[in-house]
């Protein structure tokens, strides 16, 4: 279990870029940290090539990283600092976006 209890593990990128690496660089922010994506990335790709998750669930606070990537499962809804919500798999990343992925720890309802 190489990183079962490694707190850093959650911060490692999830997606790995294989091709199309020579695209225009887009500067954006994840939870206030300056990050880089490439033009043509979705918000989900932009975030998951930088870290391991896109959001926390409203109920348990578990981390999620999307699931279906085709706008069906609704498991990658995240939001901008402005409060505007967006579905990360079907929204393209834009220069200067401020994405918030660490909101809330849930109610831990029992």
């Amino acid at each position: 279990m190489s990183h079962l209890n490694d707190p850093q593990a959650a911060e490692r990128p999830q997606f790995r870029r294989l091709q199309e690496k020579n695209r225009l660089v887009i500067n954006f922010f994840i939870d206030g940290q300056a990050c880089q994506a490439l033009l043509g990335d979705t918000v989900l790709t932009a975030v998951l090539t930088c870290q391991g998750a896109i959001r926390k669930t409203e109920f348990s606070g578990q981390k999620r990283a999307g699931f279906c990537l085709m706008g069906a499962c609704q498991d990658c809804w995240t939001q901008l600092e402005s409060g505007e919500r967006l579905r990360a798999c079907s929204t393209m990343i834009e220069q200067g976006m401020h994405i918030v992925t660490n909101l809330g720890d849930g109610d831990k309802y029992e």
Partner: protein, 468 residues
């Protein structure tokens, strides 16, 4: 025709339907959720990407080019509206969400080509970051040139399992294993049915052979036991071919059990449905031409039963011809149109026999409920567990799936049961000791997918009886 026919979906079915209408001088409105046309199967990469069609679609490159040519020819003869979500649909009207606003269209005839998503079964830990649906695994590569992780396992069953593995390895991804829940004996048993599409069969066999020559472990007869990890996936525990447990370290899993139809639009329209034992789901009823039970509503492609992309092209064309004939646009059907209709219907029948073969080769596991632990999440949206669903069924003696939804909230979340509806129905059938066909089907609700509340408020103009 006074009101333009509306086509919902611009995948292979929607495109061929549009092409057929345009050919007869009819200008359709094409509504599609995608940024670019193609659906999921021929989903196009963003415009600044440079990979070739061969890289993207492999053996299907030629088909994608033909569709692309067809679309290019019809684009200025149709009213094509990409990034347009149909979030509500009723008799005579539908509501579209596009670039932050909602608009309403009236309709007289509709071709619904709503496509498919992965058929998903839950397992302990499946909500961990790093686990993606099989379709998602392919979309990550096809649309975004990414692998879903550094060390990828592909699991489940269905033809997509081997295709995605092949595409991943070819693109340079590290695929640790391909784990099929089907047995080799299933695949041998399926050969007669699969011979109806010898080219497709040969391709499937080629992918498996190719993977093996590259040293990729292809294993059959496995079951997923659980995923392990705290904030993200770090291992997949499986029950291997011999019935022993094995722990496989990985940081990504693509999983799926073939596909399921996206039927919400047909449902909200009020189309009649029937249970299809092959697909283990309720499917909207249609005739060979694609006519639904409702006048003016036609169904094409995987949204009306999984038949694959080639069948989608055929059924798209066939449903458009039916619409033209029913609306009196084709007054006297020419000999060549008649023979084309026969040709399409024969093609669809042949693919139908192939489909039976595919279900034999890649059966969806039906033993997953017996081994499920109570704390396994079934509904991703609201984190409803297997135990909560089981208890709701027994405490309230529930026998129907919408009642189960009301009592347990399963299927009530943002995805409207797209990811959990199949499992919920199977769990209900199991504990209420009924056949799957008897527990009913989850009903869709507007908005079909989330839209901002202000959009709902603006679009909702109540009409009082007598004031219309």
């Amino acid at each position: 025709m006074n009101e333009a026919p509306i086509i919902i979906g611009a995948g292979p079915a929607g495109i061929r339907a549009a092409q057929t209408l345009v050919k007869y001088g009819v200008r359709p409105i094409i509504l599609d959720e995608g940024i670019r046309w193609g659906g999921q199967i021929y989903r196009q990469q963003p415009e600044n990407f440079k990979r070739t069609n061969e890289q993207l679609y492999g053996f299907d490159a030629k088909k994608s080019e033909e569709l692309s040519t067809a679309f290019a020819r019809l684009i200025d003869k149709a009213d094509y509206r990409p990034e347009s979500l149909v979030w509500n649909i009723e008799q005579t009207r539908l509501d579209i969400f596009h670039s932050g606003r909602s608009t309403t269209l009236n309709w007289k005839s509709l071709i619904v080509a709503s496509g498919a998503t992965d058929r998903i079964l839950p397992f302990p830990g499946w909500t961990l970051p790093g686990i993606f649906a099989m379709g998602a695994t392919q979309v990550a590569l096809k649309y975004q040139a990414c692998a879903i992780g550094e060390k990828v396992i592909l699991a489940g069953t269905g033809p997509l399992l081997y295709l995605v593995a092949y595409q991943y390895v070819k693109a340079g991804a590290n695929v640790l294993a391909v784990l099929d829940t089907a047995h080799l004996s299933d695949q041998i048993k399926a050969l007669p049915g699969l011979m109806n599409q010898p080219k497709q069969l040969a391709r499937g066999m080629y992918y498996v052979g190719w993977l093996m020559t590259k040293g990729i472990k292809v294993r059959r007869g496995i079951r997923i036991v659980r995923a392990e990890g705290q904030h993200r996936l770090c291992a997949l525990v499986i029950q291997n071919e011999r019935g022993d447990q094995e722990t496989l370290e990985c940081d990504a899993v693509g999983v799926g059990y073939a596909l399921r139809s996206e039927t919400q639009i047909a449902d909200m329209l009020g189309c009649e449905f029937k249970f299809d034992s092959l697909q283990r789901a309720h499917i909207p009823v249609k005739d060979v031409a694609g006519r639904s039970s409702l006048k003016g509503v036609y169904l094409a492609g995987d949204g009306a039963g999984i038949m694959g992309a080639d069948a989608a092209e055929l059924s798209g064309e066939r449903s458009a011809l039916a619409l033209l004939i029913d609306q009196g646009v084709c007054h006297d059907i020419s000999k060549s149109t008649l023979s084309r209709i026969k040709q399409i219907e024969r093609g669809l029948q042949r693919i139908g026999r192939f489909r039976v073969g595919l279900e034999t080769a890649f059966p969806c596991p039906n033993d997953w409920i017996q081994k499920m632990s109570g704390d396994t999440i079934v509904c991703r949206c609201e984190e409803i567990t297997f135990g909560e669903i089981r208890d709701a069924i027994s405490e309230s003696d529930i026998r129907e799936v919408n009642r189960l939804k009301a009592f347990s909230r399963v299927g009530m979340g943002r995805c409207q049961g797209r990811m959990c509806g199949q499992s919920a129905a199977e769990i209900l059938a199991h504990f209420s000791k009924q056949a799957l066909s008897e527990v009913g089907r989850l009903r869709g609700q507007p908005p079909l997918k989330p839209v901002p509340a202000h959009v709902l408020a603006e679009a909702w103009v109540p009409t009082l009886k007598g004031t219309e």
